[in-house]
Symmetry: C2
Subunit: 701 residues, 2 copies
């Protein structure tokens, strides 16, 4: 076949053959990308922005070349820059993934010929590298050549996103091209209807050992059991969607979510963005031309429009119509017995440029019992992108996905007519802001409400992240995990005492709450900060926390920890978390066998009040564990509320003296105080290193 | 003899005999103290304050008993309080040493009979303890019995200070007492004149092995060489002083120092405080009576009045008259061949209550070639109290002296008629605020200006103290001293290079400056903070730094470090310190063989400016050592001035990347970066623990 070369398998075989295959893949991609720009009609077309929030196309012409240089330098395969000035200008545009606002600096772009000359230099250098750099197979995630594959797959992404920009350019700036011919078939759309999909399990996530390139977000493991549901036979066609448009769907706010309403108010949209109405009726803007509306092609809309259509349809039909989840898309894939496209056969889908440089009728590609599960246009899902268990960022591109784990980027699945390489794989996971346009449409489903998606954002608040690391993260300076150490001391002190209920007061992000639940039937974590307990509660609910760690300046790294890794998965159901004030606790928090007060007393506004009342919460014979570095600060505890750490009656009166005095009426000190160190990481090079004093008190009165 | 028992020798001999001696010393002191209060004429006399800034005498009656209890508890000799309520009320009055303002709370004092009953309980307990507590001789500074001696000597101090308060009480509140009879001798004063004192050395400071009790400030070692000077034969008598009074000395502001003027304006003093002028002319207030002015007794004044007299006399005589220094007092002591008073002989001085309950004529006690070098009244010196080298606080009484090391408390020497026990020793060093009254007068000297006294205060500013400890103090968590480690790395990198001049830029309190001077002919320390370099300069000048360390809350410990201890005494003359801005350094700082920039770059407002110009200061082939934990904070360095620690052209750009870029034109990186940890102590239990990255750069262009 003469199809566009597939993403290579990176395992086994002969190194020289692999070199040749990768060189071919590189050159095919580099060439095809340049060929895309031949659809621009003039030099000016490179420099006028197709849409206001993006760079002009000249940037994207240079960008994919610069990306190679940057990643090859990072990977240590390249030791010198090719053109430092270009490589600064072409490095950062608008991140198509995150849709940050564009910095409107006045760019002085080089001429097209200069950029093409630069591309030729890069082509030469990368080509030489592929032919000469040491190569041991297989090429995996940690392999230096991963950077080469990353550069090629990155260019394939831009092949698609640049084609969208070209489609958004003024028509005068584009021209038809023999290599970019759209489908010419069109007609009346077939009647769509719902097909029953039986209940089933789906398993997604790529294994690290997979023999093809993948982006960070594809790896890990995710399983789900789905009840039965129904899915539309076809993607929604322009014709089917026109019912919504004609019946005033864009004006009917009740069909739109709040975020969609905001977008609609801003954009003043009254129909899909590529639809054009003129005297002859509806037309459709393709990449290089405007054609009479192909009613049987899939409609291309953003998430908000797709969702509003579903709501309208739900209202009209009375059926629970909505967008599918990512899991449901995988269920359709399995239900239709689909497989990856093959390297040497034309795909049985409008994908990978195997057929057209445009969409085609929704009934052209039957795939099992449905049409277009893959290909034609991407399909919006109701699922904001989230990391699978086991997710890790790739060190060569640590902000490829992480900024999109924010609940505001929804996954699109299935690929479009121009999705190539990794994009065409089953495992591909791309996500965009919900108001954004790609070659993307949708299929609707009907079924019970989808399970709510896990919270997937990385905590970026500095203090919360520091505490997440303090409780669930790594050890530093050889100092053992502090909340666990305290829980172990408490459990050991409990001996054979009754251990029904424990209270972790000032639990912060909750590690000790979980650790105590190894021994107690139930443990309650309480903290004054709702944001702290939010993290504990999230850990209990999802079994996982994600957070960023400050490395240096504004550089961060991404981290996640699971209860499973900490061997705490089994106790998830034995903890709960509440917001509360240790100095004014609700009466219901009562009858505990153990109260842990870790690094609490020197943060209370009235530690004496707490200490003189805490026995009321504790069963007779129960244990109170207090730990503190006795860091009294007026910002937390007014000077007159300190319980020690000052001269009293002319002599030193320590906090331990104060504890003894305040607790004497109801407690006896069980053993000599212990020193337990703890370390809180602030940056890669800066830590708080403290030594807490731990005292154990038995309630005797 | 029947004199008042001397302070015991604490060495050798038989334990039971020593018990008996100490018991006798305790009882004699306890009795004599109570007997002093018999000079009060009525119950009311105990409860009306003699002077507004002090507690009434009832407090002092209880206080010396409570002090025993507090110190014996601290020492572990006593395990229970005798009367917790009294021991709180009588613990803190006004510290006679520090003259803090009195907290005017409304005290509810117990009745005299209650306090006496309490004293009897304490007498019983302490007496029993002395008879039964284990006793191994000798009793030294660390011996538990030190607390017993401390209690007795403390009461002897209060015997004197309470006698002053009684002397300041309204005359209706006092009554003569057979055990407190003043001297009845008086007459015309002898003509005073200056006696030549030949040049000589003095050695002061008590050894730790000394066999008698001493307060913390007496220990250590101090040597001085004095040029010849003159000293007055007699203490200044009332008669001699009257010349100053009669000639308008109190109105003549030119004789008074600024602080003295302020006191004079506040007090409206026109003559010495115990002088009373009535219709019969001048009289003198004694402890229990008012007598016709004994003109030949020593005048009693505060430091300001004594100093003003000297200035007046200087003006009148043209001679360089002034107050003696502490060293000069010791020179007089040696010059007159004096020795400690003996245990079983009446003293040859009006001291230790051996003669009178008042002063006596200035010509009654000849001591070698002078009169009254010891005894009669204390003698003001021009020396603010300071610690001798080797000073340590006693753990049972850590704020006895330290608060007076503030340059505002001047030493009085020689003792008065009521100075007993330790107070009567040659080594005794008491110091009071300069406006304060004791049984104190003065002797004047004439000679060249006294050498300025060492700065003696303990640095209490938290950040300066933390840095003093960071640079000169202890190691924590096994982390080696950081400035020394950097200096060692720099010196090792220098190899056999020329090592004439080094620059320690951002030197803070200067440890690395000293350490580099082991290898370089001269080292300049520069810091933006004048207070930081002040500490380095003080260390260079005095060879010693003193500072407080926060232990817990407001509790502190006192610390000192000397260059000698750090084996740096030999390089004191090879360093100097300047205030300066690393980003805008004066041209004269130039021509260095090494520049050390320790933890500097992330505290500059423009690190790029510094880094692009620093080569100008360095000789070709010289070395630049940069260390930093790269803790970029907007409060020090605006975000746009950071040289790394951010994404640049889409990739992580570390501070090391920034250093390489900025230094490339003039430097080559000599070796791979090193990690060097450092620890800054905040409290006994809280530390900053960081890891600095160290890079070495050789100037090549």
């Amino acid at each position: 076949m003469q199809g566009f070369q597939r993403t290579p398998r990176l395992e086994g075989g002969e190194a020289d053959a692999k070199r040749a295959e990768i060189l071919g893949y590189f050159l095919a991609t580099f060439d095809r990308y340049e060929q895309l720009f031949e659809t621009l009609s003039c030099e000016e077309a490179y420099f006028v922005k197709p849409i206001s929030l993006r760079h002009p196309l000249i940037f994207y012409l240079g960008h994919t070349a610069t990306f190679f240089v940057n990643k090859l330098v990072l990977a240590g395969l390249l030791h010198e820059r090719i053109n430092a000035e270009f490589e600064s200008a072409f490095a950062v545009g608008v991140d198509e993934m995150s849709w940050d606002d564009l910095d409107d600096a006045h760019y002085q772009w080089p001429a097209v010929s200069e950029v093409m000359a630069y591309r030729n230099q890069v082509r030469e250098v990368v080509g030489q590298l592929i032919q000469s750099a040491p190569l041991a197979l297989p090429i995996g995630w940690d392999h230096p050549w991963w950077a080469i594959l990353m550069g090629i797959e990155h260019e394939r992404i831009h092949l698609e996103t640049s084609s969208v920009l070209i489609r958004q350019h003024e028509i005068r700036f584009v021209q038809p091209h023999p290599a970019w011919q759209p489908c010419r078939k069109c007609g009346t759309a077939p009647q769509n209807h719902l097909v029953k999909i039986p209940a089933g399990k789906v398993l997604s996530g790529k294994e690290r050992s997979s023999p093809v390139y993948g982006w960070d977000n594809e790896y890990g493991r995710h399983e789900a059991s789905l009840p039965d549901f129904e899915a539309s036979l076809y993607l929604v066609s322009n014709q089917e969607y026109s019912g919504f448009v004609e019946q005033g769907g864009y004006a009917a706010d009740e069909y739109w979510e709040a975020e969609g309403l905001a977008w609609k108010a801003y954009s003043q949209a009254e129909h899909p963005t590529f639809w054009i109405r003129n005297n002859d009726g509806w037309h459709l803007r393709l990449m290089t031309e405007i054609v009479a509306m192909p009613w049987d092609w899939p409609v291309e809309v953003n998430y908000h429009e797709a969702g509003a259509f579903c709501n309208w349809m739900k209202a009209v039909t009375g059926k629970p119509v909505r967008l599918p989840t990512e899991d449901e898309w995988y269920r359709l894939y399995d239900f239709c017995n689909l497989e990856e496209i093959e390297p040497d056969k034309i795909a049985a889908a409008n994908i990978h440029l195997d057929h057209y440089a445009s969409s085609c009728p929704v009934n052209e590609f039957r795939q099992g019992e449905l049409f277009d599960v893959t290909g034609n246009v991407w399909q919006w899902t109701g699922t904001p992108i989230y990391p699978y268990a086991g997710f890790e960022v790739h060190p060569l591109y640590d902000d490829f996905t992480t900024p999109t784990f924010d609940g505001r980027h929804n996954l699109i699945k299935g690929g479009s007519w121009i999705s190539c390489g990794d994009e065409a794989e089953k495992s591909a996971r791309y996500a965009f802001r919900r108001h954004f346009f790609q070659h993307a449409g949708f299929r609707y489903v009907a079924g019970e409400d989808a399970a709510s998606q896990p919270v997937s954002n990385y905590e970026t608040d500095r203090m919360l992240s520091e505490y997440a690391e303090f409780h669930y993260g790594d050890s530093y300076f050889g100092v053992a995990n502090f909340p666990k150490a305290l829980a172990d001391i408490a459990i050991s002190a409990m001996g054979s005492r009754t251990a029904r209920r424990a209270l972790d007061l000032g639990c912060a992000t909750g590690r000790a709450t979980f650790e105590l639940a190894r021994h107690f039937d139930h443990v309650t974590g309480i903290d004054f900060s709702a944001r702290f307990i939010g993290m504990g509660a999230e850990m209990a609910r999802q079994g996982m926390l994600r957070y960023t760690l400050t490395d240096e300046g504004s550089l961060v790294s991404y981290k996640s920890r699971s209860l499973k890794e900490l061997d705490l998965d089994a106790v998830r159901d034995r903890v709960d978390f509440f917001q509360g004030d240790a100095c004014n606790l609700k009466p219901l928090f009562n009858g505990y066998d153990l109260i842990l007060a870790a690094n609490l007393i020197d943060r209370l506004y009235s530690p004496a009040k707490f200490l003189s009342e805490v026995h009321e919460r504790l069963n007779m014979g129960g244990i109170l564990l207090i730990s503190s570095p006795y860091t009294w600060l007026a910002e937390h505890t007014k000077r007159e509320e300190w319980i020690g750490g000052f001269k009293k009656d002319a002599e030193n009166f320590t906090t331990l003296d104060g504890l003894k005095e305040l607790l004497a009426p109801h407690f006896k000190l069980m053993q000599a105080p212990l020193d337990v160190p703890f370390v809180i990481r602030e940056t890669r090079r800066k830590f708080q290193h403290s030594i807490s004093e731990v005292t154990l008190w038995e309630r005797i009165a």
